[in-house]
């Protein structure tokens, strides 16, 4: 008895466990021994079930130390095959090899866990793991900051960006050009073409700017984005705000790098046959915001996003019913269901063009509609020509 108790506390792992809840020591016979039967509780005589209780205890102890132990039933069967005589025998160091039925020792589990942690987090896995735990704790306690627009920097960096990175690198194989055109500091307005049915190009641009320029791109989104559940809260946490003059000017004068897609839904929802043809650039509100704050406009041309979901059809009546601009029909969606939602792995090229300076103009000139239209056209033409150049250059859609 004392020996068993000792074994139970010190190396719980090597104790043979699992008797299938039957009284006795799991001696292998389907029928418990008479001694065991005597000890077992019966309806007639409520005797103390000493043995089952003891059998259950090491099981729990072993379970606690070996979190992923094989199912009890198989082990009970295995231990049943080889009847053991003395628990002390089991406690010997050679036990695992001698008795394959006793499971994996705790040391192996630990080293396996360590190896896994090493694999996942790299060399300084202990620090990384501690950081992750601290991150989770902060999230659960609400101990983090958001800025005036609801931008959650920590969540964006640790979660959104990390989730998008493999898609950008492995799936779309982003090629980035003209990074030197992104100002290292101060307000600037990145203006891009919009395509791809789902605004993935915006997310990829945000990731690119963050990873290569070390800045956060603050996108301006349509009001639909902020009307939709889930999307709205993710957008705000990711740093987006409403595409209105007030917010654009507030962000630009605050020294942020702001991204706009002036084509809006006309751009991302255009049919596949019109790919790479820029739509109208809104009313030029983004230009007057840049003029008023005197920040440079960086034109961005994205090639490859048009092909991710080739939009071949639309259900306008359903779209009107749901209050969304369009219901996309692609060669794969909705025919293949969720599988049709996987974007095609086109090869993407992002080219940041030379900044168009606006600081030469007076803030009052933002009120001059002719100037605003001219600058808008200049930005639009720059992006359109870069798109044509990139299309000529690329070898194929998917290579």
């Amino acid at each position: 008895m004392p020996e068993e108790a000792r074994n139970g506390t010190e190396d719980a792992v090597v104790i043979p466990i699992g008797t299938g809840g039957r009284p006795g020591r799991g001696s292998g016979s389907a029928r418990p021994s008479s001694a065991a039967r005597n000890l077992a509780p019966s309806g007639r005589k409520p005797a103390k079930p000493a043995k089952p209780a003891k059998a259950a205890k090491p099981t729990e102890a072993a379970k606690a130390s070996t979190p992923a132990s094989p199912p009890k039933a198989t082990r009970a069967k295995a231990s049943a095959e080889q009847p053991h005589t003395d628990p002390v025998d089991e406690a010997a160091p050679s036990a695992p090899s001698a008795h394959p039925s006793t499971g994996i020792p705790v040391g192996d589990w630990l080293s396996a866990l360590q190896g896994a942690a090493h694999e996942v987090f790299g060399d300084d896995w202990e620090r990384r793991l501690a950081e992750l735990m601290a991150f989770v704790r902060r999230r659960l306690e609400g101990d983090y900051e958001v800025d005036d627009y609801g931008f959650d920097r920590e969540l964006t960096e640790r979660f959104f960006m990390a989730a998008l990175r493999p898609i950008a690198e492995k799936w779309f194989r982003l090629e980035v050009r003209g990074l030197e055109n992104i100002p290292a500091e101060g307000g600037a307005l990145v203006v891009s073409n919009h395509s791809g049915t789902v605004p993935l190009d915006g997310l990829m641009t945000m990731l690119t700017v963050h990873d290569h320029a070390g800045r956060f791109l603050r996108p301006l989104g349509a009001d639909l984005v902020f009307r939709l559940p889930v999307v709205s809260s993710l957008a705000r946490k990711g740093g987006a705000t409403l595409a209105c003059i007030e917010d654009a000017e507030r962000m630009l004068s605050g020294g942020d790098l702001v991204g706009v897609w002036p084509e809006g839904f006309k751009g991302i929802g255009k049919p596949f046959s019109e790919r790479y043809k820029l739509q109208r650039f809104g009313r030029g509100g983004f230009v007057s915001a840049a003029l008023r704050t005197g920040v440079p406009i960086v034109p961005l041309s994205v090639v490859g996003a048009e092909e991710i979901y080739p939009l071949v059809g639309n259900v306008p009546s359903l779209a009107r019913l749901l209050g969304v601009p369009y219901i996309p029909i692609t060669p794969f969606f909705p025919w293949l269901g969720p599988l049709g939602m996987v974007p095609l792995p086109s090869k993407w090229i992002l080219e940041f063009g030379e900044p168009i300076r606006t600081d030469a103009y007076d803030a009052a000139e933002a009120e001059d509609p002719m100037l605003v239209f001219n600058v808008t056209d200049q930005v639009r033409e720059t992006i359109q020509h870069t798109l044509f150049d990139l299309l000529r250059e690329r070898d194929g859609v998917f290579s």
Binding site: V146, D148, Y149, P229, L242, R250
Partner: protein, 328 residues
Amino acid sequence: MGRVVLVTGISRDIGRRFARAAAGDPSIDRVIGVDVVPPRGDIGDVSFVRADIRNPVIAKVIAKEDVDTVVHMSVIATPGSAGGRGTMKELNVIGSMQLLAACQKSTTVERLVVKSTTTVYGSSPRDPAMFTEDMGPKRLPSSGYAKDVAEIEGYVRGFARRRPDVDVTTIRAANVVGPHVSSPLTNYFRLPVVPRVLGFDPRLQFLHEDDLLRVLRHAAITGIPGTFNVAGDGLMTLSQAVRRLGRPSVALPSFAVGRLGATMRQARISDFSPEQLGFLTYGRGVDTTRMRSELGFEPRFTTAEAFADFCRELVPAGAPQPEGAGRA
């Protein structure tokens, strides 16, 4: 010679505390509190006059006491406390009109301070991130507190036009929180399980109750005319607030939260109005640049600190807190 200040809405806690604080101020000579029911707590040196601002008696009070500063604080947010929406609207709108009429007739009144709220900006998905004082709501409120306040502000602007010699200060306070505040929002946070709108995480901005009292006193003493947003620095999201509060929350679709709110309203558990549902869906932020540059006021509490102070009151210090103890 110090100033003579008339405070309306003294029966409510925040009005009473403001009146007491104002009475203690050396530059204020006398404070007269007015309300239809007597204040429940200690009012110190404040002299209470039982008068209904909905009838012309108030003009007599102003004339008799030589009031030169009027602080209008009796705009109530909840129909429950007034005994119905009809009474609430009458108290708010008709009361304000009578008060303004009395002020217009008066020859002694030099300053008018109106406690308004950022609720006038409404909440919608088309809102800018931060409202400045020049912006209006994207959609005019159709009912409730927000409509009352919008109407009152309209009358106040009219008064300011007719009496340009009177300095009119409108304080648009963000949601006031604090240990003593009982408002629809604080009652919402006091619910055992906080219902949230599924898929939305509104931005919230708070003003600590002490800062509200300070800014009203500041406005009454300095008399800087204009409309000012007043809020603590920074913002919080609702999910963050609920986590800091340590209360469980449940996310429900918008219509279910609305239905739940209506039920709670009928059961008088919480005053959960449609405009509050909008606020808890889309949130709101106000720009406080003018508060600093023109009004010259600096709140002591940031949004996060004000909310932390409110949380402290909700979780009694001595009570056993299995969760808190584990975390500490």
